[in-house]
């Protein structure tokens, strides 16, 4: 997940060169930066934390083994995420889990249909969030913690897309590659996921708003 970067840290380009030489400081830097995000991402494929940890450990082994073949066609971070996605998918398949990436979370409406009248105008309109400033650390931190709880309740494919796009800041094409989904499906899943998080924050801001807590059916 996102962390602020002191200037002393190496750029991705330098990191890749250093990793190819087996540089331990470079490896520790990339590990500290990505490991928690990778663990969270692995849990979209395998729910048990031991299996997720194993998938991430295997990913680092594959990164050390395969960095020589990394040519910089994607960002280093996108490449590591796609290595993990492949490993975690294989593991899930081996454990007999059927991944729901293609058949869940597409049909829920972005906004609770009860909030609109028959002609599609707002019956229970959203309030103004003038008091929310996500950049202000104090309110932001509580809200972010709340958003993370809601993230846990999203269908795995929505959660994976929201993590890659909004939390990790990866591009839409990179997210599609990593997850093996089409651009159109990526957009649908992203909007559904974001909308549920928005609805949950709305409830937190104003319990009478008519929004729903948790994933909509």
């Amino acid at each position: 997940m996102k962390r602020h970067k002191p200037n002393a840290e190496m750029s991705d380009e330098l990191l890749v060169v250093a990793l190819k030489k087996g540089d331990e400081a470079a490896f520790r830097q990339i590990f500290a930066r990505e490991n928690a995000a990778l663990l969270a991402f692995a849990r979209n494929f395998v729910r048990e934390s031991a299996a997720a940890e194993e998938a991430v450990q295997d990913t680092w082994v594959a990164v050390i083994g395969g960095i020589g073949r990394f040519e910089g066609r994607s960002t280093l971070r996108s490449w590591i995420f796609s290595v993990l996605a492949n490993i975690a998918r294989t593991k899930a398949k081996r454990d007999g889990r059927i991944l729901s990436f293609s058949d869940m979370g597409f049909n829920d409406p972005a906004v609770d249909p009860d909030r609109f009248s028959g002609d599609g105008t707002w019956l229970s309109p959203p309030g103004r969030w003038s008091e929310i400033n996500p950049e202000r650390i104090v309110g932001g931190r509580q809200l972010f913690a709340h958003a993370m709880v809601v993230m846990e309740e999203l269908p795995p494919n929505q959660r994976a897309v929201v993590q890659l796009r909004d939390i990790e800041g990866l591009s839409a094409p990179d997210a599609c590659d990593i997850l093996g989904i089409t651009e159109a499906n990526q957009r649908i899943l992203l909007h559904r996921g974001r909308s549920k998080i928005r609805a949950a924050i709305e409830v937190l801001m104003d319990p009478d708003s008519g929004g729903q807590v948790g994933p909509a059916k």
Binding site: H4, A110, T121, P134, I167, H191
Partner: protein
């Protein structure tokens, strides 16, 4: 003219600038006239901003001995 319900479905594409010119104009025209949808789009934008700026307070993790050993014995492929 788009309905408010349709704005609710298209808001992410609008925020991500992921729609064609004609659709973008339709959304803008709706937002000019509808304060509820302006509030909705603002809420969604703030949600995205929150996720982007969120600070994940995971512990700074360290690679274990297996990974460090693998790295140390890795052949230098840059030569």
């Amino acid at each position: 003219m788009l309905t408010c319900r349709e704005i609710g479905e298209r808001a992410s594409d609008y925020l991500d600038n992921d729609m064609n010119w004609r659709n973008r104009v339709s959304v803008r025209l709706h937002l000019m006239m509808c304060k509820h949808c302006r509030a909705y789009v603002d809420q969604l934008a703030k949600t995205v901003q929150l996720l982007r700026n969120g600070i994940f307070t995971g512990d700074a993790s360290e690679p274990d001995a297996e990974l460090i050993a693998l790295l140390a014995t890795r052949p230098d492929e840059t030569k």
